[in-house]
């Protein structure tokens, strides 16, 4: 078995004259939470649809757990929550869930008890009402979102793909979704989600890929992405100001490129390849009384703006990312 949940190589997708995805390569490690980031119209949804064999790539290859995604049964192990959500309106909740699970190759007898479990877990079964027996269009929007989420996970997929999962969620449901993603990770599942909200991605992802105009801008583990993002600053607070030995440490050009002194508070820019931990140790050795030592990494949002910029959003593009 491959260590990669998804291995995309040089995938191309054209629509008429417009190239939606060009020579995109991605590697999603097994068991990770992976963020597919990019502005609207960047090619996120197109990429996801190609992973799911909903769209056929014009060139390139896509493997899921080491097997081509067109192989029999490979996609049965994938759960998908599309950006555009919706279910059969006139159908009973329980029957919709059963149908979608059966399409993933589950046996009806195995699914039925799981449906009950999930409905209870999402409080769709209450002492007053069992929403499992209601028709979809009798449910509130929030409840429909829950049902759709259950449908994504009901067949216990090893790989879960969520396209813009946070759009349209209220804060409570958004938190529930975050918890659910983390639980999936704990259970060894791989989760990929696309978003243009960097804040969510920064908090949840182990690895990210930023794409714009159908091309990869950068990818890698969150730590690598941040480390490679360039400048690293340290906010330093000292009780009683800098003593002699301390100033010497701060003047070491191997460690600090430049620093800004405001008596008790310092803003340092680390020298290239300098280790922040070494700096901290040196400061303590020099007898500094440290009140605050904070590594100020640029936020994903800043990196995104810096790398993609306003130019990354193609004008006139609309619809799906």
């Amino acid at each position: 078995m491959s260590d990669l949940a998804i291995d995309i190589r040089k995938v191309v997708k054209r629509f008429d004259e417009h190239v939606a995805v060009r020579e995109l390569s991605l590697e999603v490690p097994r068991g990770s939470v992976y963020g597919l980031l990019g502005p609207n119209g960047a090619g996120k949804t197109t990429t996801i649809r190609m992973i799911l064999d909903v769209l056929l790539p014009d060139a390139g290859s896509i493997a899921i757990f080491g097997r081509p995604n067109t192989d029999y049964g490979v996609l049965d192990k994938v759960g998908y929550l599309p950006e555009e959500r919706g279910l059969y309106k006139k159908m009973q909740v329980r029957r919709v869930l059963l149908f979608l699970a059966e399409l993933k190759g589950m046996r009806a007898a195995d699914v039925a008890p799981r449906i009950d479990e999930w409905l209870e877990r999402f409080s769709l079964v209450t002492p007053e009402k069992n929403w499992g027996d209601a028709k979809i269009d009798e449910l509130s929007r929030g409840m429909q979102q829950k049902v759709q989420f259950i449908a994504t996970l009901l067949h216990d997929p090893d790989l879960v793909i969520l396209d813009e999962p946070f759009s349209g969620l209220d804060p409570i449901n958004a938190q529930a979704l975050k918890d659910a993603v983390l639980e999936l990770k704990r259970r060894g599942k791989t989760v990929i989600f696309s978003t243009h909200v960097m804040d969510n991605a920064e908090k949840m992802c182990d690895s990210v890929c930023i794409i714009a105009r159908g091309e990869k801008v950068l990818d890698g583990s969150m730590t690598d992405v941040k480390r490679n993002a360039g400048t690293r600053n340290v906010a330093l607070g000292l009780t009683g100001g800098a003593r002699n030995g301390v100033t010497e440490v701060l003047r070491d050009s191997q460690l600090v490129r430049k620093f800004d002194d405001t008596n008790n508070y310092f803003e340092l820019e680390l020298a290239p390849n300098a280790d922040a931990q070494l700096l901290l140790r040196r400061l303590i050795d020099a007898g500094a009384s440290i009140e605050r030592f904070e590594l100020m990494q640029p936020s994903l949002h800043q990196i995104f703006l810096q790398r993609v910029g306003a130019a990354g959003v193609e004008t006139g593009m609309s619809g799906h990312g």
Binding site: D16, R49, L52, D53, V54, L55, Y72, G73, L75, D76, V78, Y80, P82, E84, R85, G86, L87, Y88, K89, K90, M91, R95, F99, L100, E102, L103, K104, G105, Q148, A151, G319
Partner: protein
């Protein structure tokens, strides 16, 4: 899970959800009721009109001929079984009079008829009746064509008997000749031999044609709305991420087709039951040629349909349905709203209607060049060939050939539809132009 398993899951959902719907139940029960009603109505009318014939027994006969003709007519009216069982309880009253007293008697009877719950009318027999010219009738049922017709026949018959007797012909011979009834029974001759009544086959042919056409239109539209629902609720994307669009399309067509077959079986079953159950009740007391004609017309036609014919009709239904339903599915996948769907489905409907409009011509002459030609096009053969089988003899070569051509047409339609469907299901927003759809077919 393989494609076949998923095909079954999709078909099962389509089938079960539709069978469960209220509409299905209403339609399944309503249509046979209408069908049976339409077929039973003529029988009912026949039965009713003969029942009202008993009104003729409640008349007065004013006989001014002086020959006892009135008495003869009264006896015949009383015993004629087409007016209901022979009875003595209501018998025509004979008033023998002279030509001089006639106006007074008439006035008297007129007053009686005018009162409710008394005499229905009166018949006046004079010398000119005996010469074969004229009898008069006045009564409340004078506008009831059936009654007047019946009365005229009886009077004519009795006058004829009286005149023949006067010419010296023996009474029993006269009776025998005068009451001759005549019925023309038509039978169709095919290569397999004689097979049932001609009109029955005609009727059965029409019914099969109507049924096929209606089912294809109705359930084809069902496929269209089903596809449109999946697209507009956006559930399509989740489904297509689990099953190939071609499999989804095929499962849908199969599932809805299954509903169509179930419904037709129910329709035929219920209609047959209603007919067999209700006909005897309606035709009770109806004997002689009328009843025979009725049962001939309705029962006979269906009795002549062999199992082989039923199997053929089934094959043609399946082919025709798959052909049109897949085109309807493609139309549904192109559209974003009911309105657009109707427009997109217009070419399909035109194809279907063009066939339907020619059905009448083919009913009149099922062996015409047109009929033969239409048996070879995949869009018309599923309706035309079963119709012709019901009306005439279609050669096995034509049947086999048309099935092969129609199946090839189906493969083409499904292939084309699957390509349109694959792209169309995920295209939202603008309605595609023909050029764009052509592009989908090429690139899908």
């Amino acid at each position: 899970m393989g494609n076949l398993g998923k095909l079954f899951v999709v078909a099962k959902r389509e089938y079960m959800e539709r069978i469960r719907s209220r509409w299905f139940i209403v339609m399944t029960l309503l249509v046979p009721a209408i069908f049976a009603g339409a077929m039973l109505f003529p029988i009912y009318v026949a039965a009713r009109s003969s029942a009202s014939g008993s009104a003729l027994r409640n008349i007065a006969i004013v006989d001014a001929t002086g020959t006892g003709l009135g008495e003869q007519i009264a006896t015949t009216l009383r015993t004629d079984t087409t007016l209901g069982p022979a009875t003595d309880s209501i018998a025509p009253r004979v008033v023998v009079t002279t030509p001089a007293d006639l106006p007074a008697k008439e006035r008297e009877l007129q007053a009686q008829v005018a009162q409710p719950n008394s005499l229905i009318g009166y018949l006046v027999l004079t010398d000119s009746t005996l010469t074969g010219n004229l009898a008069r009738y006045a009564g409340r049922n004078a506008s009831t064509i059936n009654d007047i017709d019946r009365l005229r026949t009886i009077v004519r018959q009795e006058v004829m008997i009286a005149r023949l007797q006067r010419e010296g012909v023996r009474a029993d011979v006269v009776k025998d000749i005068a009451t001759t009834t005549f019925r023309l029974k038509s039978e169709r001759i095919t290569e397999r031999g004689r097979s049932g009544s001609g009109t029955g086959g005609f009727l059965a042919g029409i019914i099969v044609g109507v049924l096929l056409f209606m089912s294809i239109v109705f359930h084809g539209q069902n496929v269209l709305t089903g596809v449109l629902e999946e697209k507009s609720t956006r559930v399509a994307e989740v489904v297509i991420s689990s099953v190939k669009p071609e499999v989804l399309l095929a499962g849908k067509v199969l599932g809805v087709g299954g509903v169509g077959l179930t419904q037709q079986a129910a329709w035929l079953g219920i209609t047959a039951y209603l007919m067999s159950f209700v006909t005897p009740i309606l035709t009770k007391g109806l004997t002689g040629p009328a009843a025979a004609a009725a049962s001939d017309q309705f029962g006979g036609g269906f009795a002549t349909i062999s199992m082989a014919t039923i199997a053929l009709i089934l094959v043609y239904f399946i082919i025709g349905f798959v052909f049109y339903a897949s085109l309807y599915a493609a139309a549904g996948s192109m559209a974003n709203s009911e309105q657009e769907a109707k427009q997109a489905a217009a070419p399909v409907l035109i194809l279907l209607m063009s066939t339907w409009l020619l059905v009448q011509t083919i009913l009149v002459n099922p062996n015409s060049k047109l009929a033969v030609a239409l048996s070879w096009f995949p869009w018309s053969s599923p309706i035309i060939v079963p119709l012709r089988i019901g009306l005439t003899t279609v050669s096995p070569f034509t049947i086999a050939g048309s099935i092969v051509v129609a199946i090839l047409g189906c493969v083409g339609a499904v292939w084309l539809s699957a390509r349109i469907y694959r792209v169309g299901m995920l295209m939202y927003g603008k309605k595609p132009s023909f050029g764009e759809v052509a592009k989908w077919i090429r690139y899908a």
